[in-house]
């Protein structure tokens, strides 16, 4: 049985803009990465390092220039297989949802997009709202929610299809420390008790240190270091992850 959840080799991505005057920005310079099933894997790096781009490529939102990608045993070619979309999901920091829909309507709406319906979907929506403690806000419109509750909704929505692989892009960005702690507890629960493979990006050392078994440090579109937090600290002779981050970020 294949124990690999994600296997990326030589992933290169360039953003292109401008219709008449072409502009190019190199985002990923050749990412090699393997995430095992059941793992809670962290991608740590400063802003603009290419973390979100990499997750967007894994999720099929962005196309890659070159490189091979194997997700949950499926080789990803030019188009992203829809049966694979049913097996994975993603939650972004600063996530946005249709403003006019309430919390419950949003969860139901996305559940229907994943082919669910009826009493099963209704039950699942209630269960997820309870899991992320949003029951009392279920009839509140998305644009009336606080940042923390928006993030909880994003997490609930990302679990609607019971994914095997969950991508979390900076899940605690811009949140108060107490809400961040609650979200981190939920992420641990998702990984341990629901058995979901989690690939998480963050630029908070504490988050990576607390949650992730293995961590890849990414900077300038390339992975600069990979290992457990102890291994990363040893690599750069750092006393803790904070120092390791500073050392790795400073390396050319």
């Amino acid at each position: 049985m294949d124990e690999t959840a994600v296997k990326a080799q030589g992933i290169i991505k360039t953003y292109r803009s401008g219709i008449f005057k072409k502009r190019e920005t190199k985002a990923l310079l050749g990412i090699d990465l393997e995430v095992r099933k059941g793992e809670l894997f962290g991608i740590l790096g400063p802003n603009g390092a290419g973390k979100t781009t990499f997750l967007n490529i894994i999720m099929g939102i962005l196309g890659r220039d070159s490189g091979t990608l194997l997700i949950l045993g499926e080789q990803i070619a030019r188009s992203f297989p829809e049966r694979l979309k049913m097996r994975m999901n993603m939650s972004s920091g600063n996530a946005n949802f249709p403003w006019s829909l309430t919390v419950r309507e949003n969860i139901i709406f996305y559940g229907m997009l994943y082919g669910m319906g009826g009493a099963k979907l209704s039950k699942k929506a209630d269960e997820l709202m309870e899991f992320v403690s949003l029951e009392q806000y279920k009839d509140r419109r998305f644009d009336e929610l606080s940042t923390g509750n928006k993030q909880k909704l994003a997490l609930a929505k990302s679990l609607i299809n019971s994914p095997e692989l969950l991508l979390l892009d900076e899940p605690t960005t811009g949140m108060d420390p107490d809400i961040s702690a609650k979200i981190r507890a939920m992420i641990k629960d998702i990984n341990k008790n629901r058995g979901i493979t989690v690939l998480l990006t963050t630029h908070y050392m504490k988050e990576a240190e607390e949650l992730c078994g293995r961590i890849a440090f990414i900077k300038g579109g390339a992975i600069r270091a990979l290992g457990t937090k102890e291994e990363l600290q040893t690599m750069v002779n750092a006393r803790d992850m904070e120092e390791a981050f500073i050392e790795l970020a400073a390396e050319e």
């Binding site: 939102i61 962005l62 030019r78 979309k85 949802f97 403003w99 006019s100």
Partner: protein, 269 residues
């Protein structure tokens, strides 16, 4: 998102189409601007045309013709806007990424809002017709002519809405004004109040490539005007289905390109 409904469970496809139609419904009832699109502007059009017709003392048949033109243009605008809004709501809410990561096909993404737009367009039509009947003694052409023309206007709304989505995916949300421009321009070229034979030859040629021209031409026969084209319904419906198929392909290609260039992410931020 892809245009491959094959190998899908039928109930899931219907569920997705229903979900997307329902989302447009919720947006429509909770946003005042959406209500204005159905009521305010079309009513202004009907009242202006009706008052002008009364002032110029045009005969009953001619006034009915002008009013039906105003009603049809209102319906076209409502239908095409709702198809375009299906995409624009995602862009304005910055939720496009959420939708694109789900297994929704281009077909479902377009057809859901269109189905709701037809209900909304029909409601707009009934309301505007009753208003015209009460105020200006309006009457419709024979049912057969009316239904076939009305169906054509619905398809034209889908074509305009899909064109707007295509342009938005290529050029980004800075050109969202095209959502309001294209249908107005199309009505001008296709002769909503006049036969296209009145237009300069270059513009008249373009008009012949647009299905709405033929639906309006056929519609005018209901008020006793002669046909300027042979087989307007075959041409109108034939061109419509051809353009819809081409637009599905173009939207799919534009989405692939947007995934490559990163436009998808820019539309979600």
């Amino acid at each position: 998102m892809s245009l491959q409904p094959k190998n899908r469970k039928i109930p899931a496809v219907f569920g997705r189409i229903f979900a997307l139609a329902y989302r447009n419904y919720v947006f429509s009832i909770r946003n005042i601007s959406a209500v204005m699109e159905v009521l305010f502007w079309p009513v202004i059009g009907i009242v202006s045309i009706g008052m002008m017709g009364s002032f110029l003392k045009v005969n009953e048949q001619m006034l009915a013709f002008l009013l039906t033109g105003a009603i049809m243009s209102g319906v076209l605008q409502v239908v095409q806007l709702d198809v375009a809004f299906g995409f624009l709501y995602d862009v304005w809410s910055k939720s496009l990424k959420q939708t694109l990561m789900s297994p929704v096909s281009s077909f479902e993404y377009v057809i859901g809002p269109w189905l709701f737009s037809m209900i909304k367009g029909t409601a707009a039509f009934v309301f505007l017709s009753l208003l015209s009947l009460w105020w200006f003694k309006f009457y419709l052409p024979p049912p057969f002519i009316f239904i076939l023309s009305f169906g054509g206007v619905m398809l034209s709304g889908l074509i305009v809405g899909m064109s707007v989505i295509f342009f938005l995916v290529i050029f980004g949300s800075r050109i969202d004004v095209v959502a309001w421009m294209i249908s107005v321009l199309m009505m001008l070229i296709c002769g909503i109040y006049y036969p296209v034979t009145m237009l300069p030859s270059g513009v008249a040629f373009i008009a012949k490539l647009i299905p709405l021209t033929y639906f309006l031409e056929y519609f005018r026969t209901g008020y006793g005007f002669p046909l300027n084209f042979a087989h307007p319904l075959i041409k109108g419906y034939g061109l419509s289905f051809l353009y819809i198929a081409v637009l599905f392909f173009l939207i799919e290609t534009a989405l692939l390109r947007a995934r490559k260039t990163g436009m998808i992410v820019r539309l979600s931020e």
